[in-house]
Amino acid sequence: MPRLFVLEDRLTQSNCYLMEDNGSVLIIDPNDHERILKIIREHQWNIDYILLTHEHCDHIQGLNGVRRGYPEALVIATAVCSENLGNRIKNMSGMMGTYLHFKYGGDKKYVYSSILCNPANLTFDQEYEFHWKGHMIQMELVPGHTMGSCCIRMDETILFSGDYLIMGEEDITRLAGGNEEAYETYAKPWIEALEDGIHIYPGHGTDYILKKEKR
């Protein structure tokens, strides 16, 4: 199995997942390029892939920095996610400072710069799968949280769920790009059909093993 590292962003508390296998790295949701690059460079690893679960800025805020350091890394996302990477309203970066103010309360003002990213190198509409280091990686469009949201499975046993299935939280459809109807029609049944025992690595919070009583 590849080694899995979790980098939680101090400000937005988003999770970046970094998987390493024999010096090759696959990144999911790059959130802090300085920390990511520090680890990669210290170990002299190389980045093969950067996968995005959705376009919200807390999940892509390190994308430009990582791409600058490793321009050969292939960025894969849904077509909708890719299209919204360069839109400060759709990716929420234009209002993240305000969002954090509301989220954390108090008088502190949060400075958060707009983020504009280039599109992904490879996009898909419904699903995309590939092999990496002997592992099957499956990316599947799961619209609702945003219309470009996807979940990423590895070997049918691990699920990187983005902003779905966050422990102790309801799935949110009211942020930029969210769609309640799409959630009810597509995401909710998709989530309900997930098999017990799958290891969930969400975009925020701790990982856990999915059990029916937890849903």
Partner: protein, 83 residues
Amino acid sequence: MTNLEKYNKVFQVILKKEGEELKELRYRGVPEWDSMGHMNLVGELEEKFDIMLDTPDMLAFSSYEKGKEILKKYGVEIEKEDA
């Protein structure tokens, strides 16, 4: 479409409120205008009027009427409503 019509339309779309209800709208005054509703409201106004609000203005945007004052700072004049 006038700026007032565009402005009202944003509130109608995001907060599902219309007509006389609009003038009374305040942040947290209705369930729809919570922190997430606020994000969507700001985003939609920025998109429709092609402006970028500074964070202090986003935070000061506390009511339907206050929003008109804030937009004026960005060169968007919302026409007075007919009496």
